[in-house]
């Protein structure tokens, strides 16, 4: 028997000798015609010939030509008993026959026959073919069969090996087709198999299966550890066939180590010790002198080592191992091999997140910094930056940030953006001295202004405003920075903002006199983009307030056509608004409107969120470490955080309308880009700013008039204003508190439902559902708020804060909160219990502000807590005489509140009755002469005394109107009750 197929060899060499594509095509055409004439069917072909021609067809196909015949012959080859013929047949089929070819049935029949064959070689060929085709159909047909082969006692090693790999392939194409059965447990025992090939194949399969349901395969942990132990401790002569350049079974070791990474460290101490021993041995081997100088040897050895290190990192439990791994990696940092350096840096980055090895990693700081400077490969430099970021803490922050800044000058453009973010975060996170922070950020803007995102400079302003001690320094520094002949637009923005706020702090110095400051800023004005110009205009008007002496200069600038008639609407509007403000207002008004910005509420830096978006994996690891560290020191850390967040949000601050305006400006500029500015939710503060203007409520269009309203403060809109001045201040106060409660109020509709009922869903969006259940007894109540996480991911840093929008509420309500944990797990529900004592009657509504981080994005929701005065009201029964007696007693003008309004719901007597009863009033019949009217009484119970209230509701069916009259001892109560009831009927 000729086995060499001379014809094929000749054909291939002919093709190779072809000088041009055309010649090749001709030769192929000739060969195809020849094969066609052979396959015509008038002469019987023997197996050898068929095999030869099928081979040629295969070769022609692989050259890129279409083959549309010969399939039948290939399938015929499968019936042969000769290995080579069968093999070629299967090869042709797995390469050429498409899934939905009609010959597939025939092929499948053949595959079945071969799988059942006693000859292991045939079984193997069939398995290989199934895996190579690997279609869904194949999985459907054979996935139930193959596990049997896998665990069959008498099956040969090669069959087991192929079966495992074949099953793995089918599992990857169609996991649902692979049945779960008792074979799973037996598969684990393949790890004990004598044959290393079987073990290697089985580990791959088990790893895939483990991903599906880890619990079924728990047993594999101890088995794989003992297998690993045997490999690691064996000398390289023991596993002759599986020793690769003196490394025993490197692939198997790597796979085993990877498999173990699917499980937490084993609980059984003996097993655990054994694993630790293995890992130690691997680490030991790494230090040994190499047994060969060949690169394959070191590659194989390092592959095992790196996998071991990632397992050590994964377990994160053995400090000594972690430290050893770290020192081993440290050696690689100075290795000649670029890949090794890269991997070492990458693994170290993970090590730095473990608290045990963090210090060990820090020891290599110098090497890493050198790597950053001298490394030729940009990807390695990138890793070095990551590592520096990860190893940074309070002790080395200044040094690392300094190094990063020096590197920034020469860094590649591709990583500059990220580098800038990292520097900004580190500087902020570990800033002990805020002058240093300001210096760093300004340096950053100077060095890489283009890469400094909005968030970075927002953040520096936020911090400067919140820290009184650095304000003067910041003003001085930005002033100096602006003196440079060319400075980046971001620098101008920061400069404009800070000088506008704190320019007065450096005005004493002759070098930075008010007019110099203004000239300096205005010198940059023409070079800036419209948004920056708009910001500068705001800065100018602030300067008017700070330095009345340069008012005329600024008016001249505002008046110029370039601003007053700018084609940009924003600039035009600001110019005209500021102009009239500067011209017409008294110094008092200016001082009020343009007062210093109030401190920003502390929130998670949005820069961090941005970085996380860029590089989720590393950041998550680092954050996870942060959380871990937080949990360790004190269990009450979360409480502390919540408690500390509450006062900052609720503290009344002394910001002015102008401050609000400026804040609103940025919001206006940013709201279309949808970025969460400095973590402050400006979606909410824009309306707050508008509301600050005495409720003019027209958004930014009406801003000027509303600001002026604040200044002149006509008492028309304020509720109780004895004098204009105090009215203004009072109102400003409410405004500020209102602005402090950042976030727009949502779920207003649902809130109204709670006036008459006590449980239900208060708010719901895609992430969170907030349910409320409350019960009240006399003057105290208990509100249970349920937070349901609707997402499959946990909500981190979960905190809820009760805000009192009106400072008087603090005296009126006693609120105690039993807080929730800082985390709401996936699809979990937690509840928060709020106990409320009603001290006195109140009308404002407390706000519930919920904050959390979902998928890296900080979210904030502000809800109105369904806590209204009527909740503390108890219905009271009385006869007609008493009723009228009370009614008359309480008929002074301020005690009575009457409203005539359109019905909000269909005027159905029964529903109205239920609502009134739910509201808290009693319903008294036979009192009113008109039976259609509703009359009732209730007593609001507070700690400071009871407040009796009476009401009368007169429906007018024709006009669909109600007239509601409420009499009460306290004037505020009747008004509030009237308002509340009005919304319900």
């Amino acid at each position: 028997v000729k086995d060499s197929m001379r014809g094929l060899a000749v054909f291939i060499s002919d093709i190779r000798n072809c000088k041009s594509k055309e010649a090749e095509e001709k030769r192929i055409n000739k060969e195809l015609a020849n094969i066609r004439s052979k396959f015509k069917g008038d002469k019987a072909l023997d197996g050898y010939q068929k095999k030869k021609y099928v081979c040629k067809l295969l070769f022609i196909f692989l050259l890129g030509n279409d083959i549309d015949f010969g399939h039948m012959e290939a399938v015929n080859l499968l019936n042969s008993n000769k290995y080579t013929e069968k093999q070629i047949g299967y090869l042709f089929i797995s390469v050429l026959i498409s899934e939905n070819n009609e010959l597939m049935r025939l092929v499948q029949q053949n595959l079945k026959n071969d799988l059942a064959s006693r000859n292991p070689v045939h079984v193997n060929l069939a398995l290989e073919c199934i895996a190579n085709i690997g279609s869904k159909e194949m999985a459907e047909m054979f996935a139930p069969e193959i596990p049997k082969l896998l665990v069959m006692g008498d099956a040969g090693d090669t069959v087991k090996q192929s079966a495992a790999l074949c099953l793995l392939k089918l599992f990857r194409t169609a996991p649902e087709m692979v049945p779960i059965g008792d074979w799973t447990s037996r598969v684990i025992h393949l790890l004990n198999d004598q044959h290393m090939g079987v073990v290697t194949a089985a580990v791959s399969l088990i790893e895939a299966l483990v991903k599906r349901n880890p619990d079924d395969f728990k047993g594999c942990v101890s088995l794989s550890i003992s297998r690993l132990a045997r490999i690691v401790t064996s000398s390289y002569t023991d596993l002759q066939d599986y020793t690769y350049y003196f490394v025993p079974a490197p692939w198997l070791s790597v796979k085993l180590l990877r498999l173990l990474q699917n499980y937490p460290p084993p609980e059984d101490t003996t097993v655990r010790n054994r694993l630790a021993e293995c890992l130690e041995t691997i680490l030991n081997k790494a230090v040994e002198p190499p047994k060969s100088k060949k690169v394959q040897h070191s590659n194989a050895k390092n592959a095992v080592l790196f996998e071991a290190i990632s397992l050590i990192i994964h377990m994160d439990s053995d400090p000594s191992l972690l430290v050893r791994a770290c020192s081993q990696l440290g050696q690689f940092l100075s290795n000649r091999e670029t890949n090794l350096r890269y991997l070492a840096l990458e693994s170290m980055c993970l090590l730095a997140t473990s608290e045990f090895s963090h210090d060990a990693v820090k020891r290599h700081q110098e090497t890493v910094v050198t790597a950053l400077k001298s490394e030729r490969d940009v990807s390695v430099r990138q890793r070095a930056v990551d590592l520096l970021y990860a190893m940074c803490d309070r002790s080395n922050a200044e040094e690392i940030v300094g190094e990063m800044l020096t590197y920034l000058e020469t860094a590649d453009y591709s990583i500059r953006g990220e580098l800038v973010l990292k520097i900004a975060i580190l500087a902020e996170k570990y800033a002990s001295d805020y002058t240093w922070y300001v210096d760093t950020i300004l340096n950053l803007i100077r060095l890489a202004g283009d890469f400094v995102s909005e968030e970075v400079w927002y953040r520096v302003i936020q911090i400067v405003i919140n820290r009184e001690d650095v304000q003067a320094y910041a003003a001085k520094t930005v002033f100096e920075a602006l003196e440079a002949p060319a400075c980046h637009e971001n620098m101008v923005k920061v400069g404009g903002y800070i000088l506008g706020e704190f320019g007065n702090l450096i005005a004493g110095d002759a070098r930075s006199s008010p007019s110099t400051q203004f000239q300096l800023l205005h010198g940059k004005f023409h070079l800036c983009s419209p948004p920056t110009r708009a910001l500068l205009l705001s800065a100018y008007i602030k300067l008017v307030n700070l330095f009345p002496e340069i008012r005329e200069d600024i008016i001249a600038v505002l008046e110029s056509d370039a601003n007053l008639r700018n084609s940009n609407v924003e600039i035009q509007q600001r110019a005209s608004e500021y102009l009239s403000l500067a011209r017409n207002s008294t110094q008092d008004v200016l001082a009020t409107v343009l007062e210093e910005m109030p401190p920003f509420p502390e929130r998670e830096s949005s820069i961090l969120a941005q970085l996380r978006k860029k590089k989720p994996a590393v950041e998550d690891a680092i954050r996870a470490r942060g959380e871990k560290q937080q949990q360790r020191p004190a269990s009450g850390a979360a409480d502390g955080a919540a408690a500390s967040a509450a006062p900052t949000a609720a503290t009344p601050t002394s910001g002015g309308g102008g401050g609000v305006k400026l804040q609103g400006d940025i919001a206006g500029a940013e709201s279309n880009t949808d970025s969460d500015l400095l973590g402050l939710d400006f979606g909410g503060s824009a309306p707050a700013a508008a509301a600050g203007g005495g409720g003019a409520g027209g958004g930014s269009v009406d801003l000027l008039s509303s600001i002026l309203d604040v200044g002149v403060s006509s008492s028309s809109s304020s509720s109780a204003a004895p004098s204009a001045a105090s009215g203004a201040s009072a109102q400003r106060k409410t405004v500020v508190v209102g602005a402090g409660a950042s976030g727009s109020i949502v779920g207003e509709e649902n809130w109204h439902k709670f006036v008459c009922k006590n449980s239900g869903v208060l708010y719901e969006n895609d992430i969170l559902q907030v349910g409320v259940k409350c019960d009240y007894q006399q003057s105290s109540g208990r509100i249970v708020v349920y937070y349901g996480n609707k997402t499959p991911a946990p909500l981190a840093q979960f905190a809820s804060v009760i805000n009192l929008p009106d400072s008087s509420l603090t005296n009126q309500l006693g609120i105690q909160v039993k807080p929730v944990g800082d985390r709401v797990g996936a699809s979990e529900q937690v509840n928060e219990v709020i106990t409320v004592d009603c001290m006195a009657e109140f009308s404002a509504c407390p706000l519930l502000n919920i904050r959390f981080v979902y998928s890296g994005v900080a979210q904030s929701i502000t809800l109105k807590l369904p806590l209204t005065i009527n909740k503390f009201m108890q219905s009271s029964e009385m006869d007609s005489a008493t009723f009228f007696q009370h009614w008359k007693q309480l008929s002074q003008p301020e005690q009575e509140c009457q409203k005539i309004f359109q019905a909000k719901f269909p005027m159905d007597a029964e529903t109205t009755k239920t609502k009134i009863l739910g509201f808290g009033f009693s319903l008294l019949s036979n009192i009113d002469s008109n039976p259609a009217n509703f009359v009732g009484a209730g007593i609001v119970q507070t700690k400071s005394g009871n407040i009796g209230s009476l009401f009368r509701l007169e429906p007018n069916q024709q006009a669909q109107m109600y007239r509601l009259t409420v009499h009460s001892i306290k004037p505020g109560v009747s008004k509030r009750l009237c308002e509340l009831l009005e919304t319900q009927i």
Binding site: K30, A33, N34, R36, D68, F69, G70
Partner: protein
Amino acid sequence: MIGGLFVYNHKGEVLISRVYRDDIGRNAVDAFRVNVIHARQQVRSPVTNIAHTSFFHIKRSNIWICAAAKKNVNAALVFQFLYKMVEVMGNYFGKINEDNIKNNFVLIYELLDEIMDYGYPQNTDTGILKTYITQQGIKSQTKEETTKITNQVTGQIAWRREGIKYRRNELFLDVIESVNLLMSPQGQVLSAHVSGRVQMKSFLSGMPECKFGINDKIVVDSKRQEPGATSGGGNLGGGGKAGHIAIDDCQFHQCVKLSKFDTEHAISFIPPDGEFELMRYRTTKDISLPFRVIPLVREIGRTKMEVKVVVKSNFKPSLLAQKVEVRIPTPLNTSGVQVICMKGKARYKASDNAIVWKIKRMGGMKEWQLSAEIDMLSATDKAKKWTRPPISMNFEVPFAPSGFKVRYLKVFESKLNYSDHDVIKWVRYIGKSGLYETRC
């Protein structure tokens, strides 16, 4: 303007690279190789745009010749230049192939320096080039010779040097036409045109002025109005019913005085010495098709097909067509062919997927037939249907199918004393097949 010229072999290795302008960098050489020569999909367009650079290429045997330009150049100019360049190189060292290019690379660079300057084409006339780019080593030229060359190259008649002398004044004139045809199976002409050229070889002394007359419709019409002028002689092939033809467009060698052609419709010129192409033209009307192919295809079931092809020659019986070849494409799943033909030799050529029928000679007004039976293998994939490419033909006939005729060719040389009668003139007509196809 052209930024650079590159020559590659079939593997894409650069044989010649000449950059004329700074806007073409070194990477352009690789860009063309990667995107065109080694492209996964065969690039069929002769112009390829890669990274704002245009690459114009032609292929000669296995050699790729490519011009690169960053500017928006006139593509026709570039191709004309490339063809000229190929012609010049052919005249210098014969066939263009890898070995010849490698052996003559010094010469080629010298030529490239001469025929193009800063991306602008210069004199590409071989005759002139040969006066100063010689292949016989370095021969020190006297000062007079150099000035002579300079004077001549920059002079009014750059294509001919003075002082040429022949003992026998001879003139050869070839009219070479190629006929393109696409015919429907029913014998309807779908498209047909003739592109012809007049090739001349002159061995004339001095600075002779030649006048060339053809039977162009406009010329003839204008002549007819003059008294005494008669229309040209008899009809050779059968084309040109009225004895004159309508030329769609034509172009002349630079030696032809175009002003005279515009005003008098006379082709008057001082010929270069040796071989040159005097004119080129194209006609689409009244073409006498030398052959007619009548196909008859019958499919019997899925595995058998019968083909009958009749070839008719349609010209004077006295004329003899040569190198006649008919190509009948066969289906891609052909497994066997039996051919019967009375005349010529027919063979199934598997490498081309066609039956090739060769007839050495064929007289006019004849009708020969071939029949073939084709066996086919039933294909696994039934969706693909054979598209039946057209039957194509090759031939050579001794007349001009467009009806083009030389009416006269006169030579005047006033300074030397030989007259028109002393010049020996040879005129020859050759009609060749271009793309001569009949659908079946």
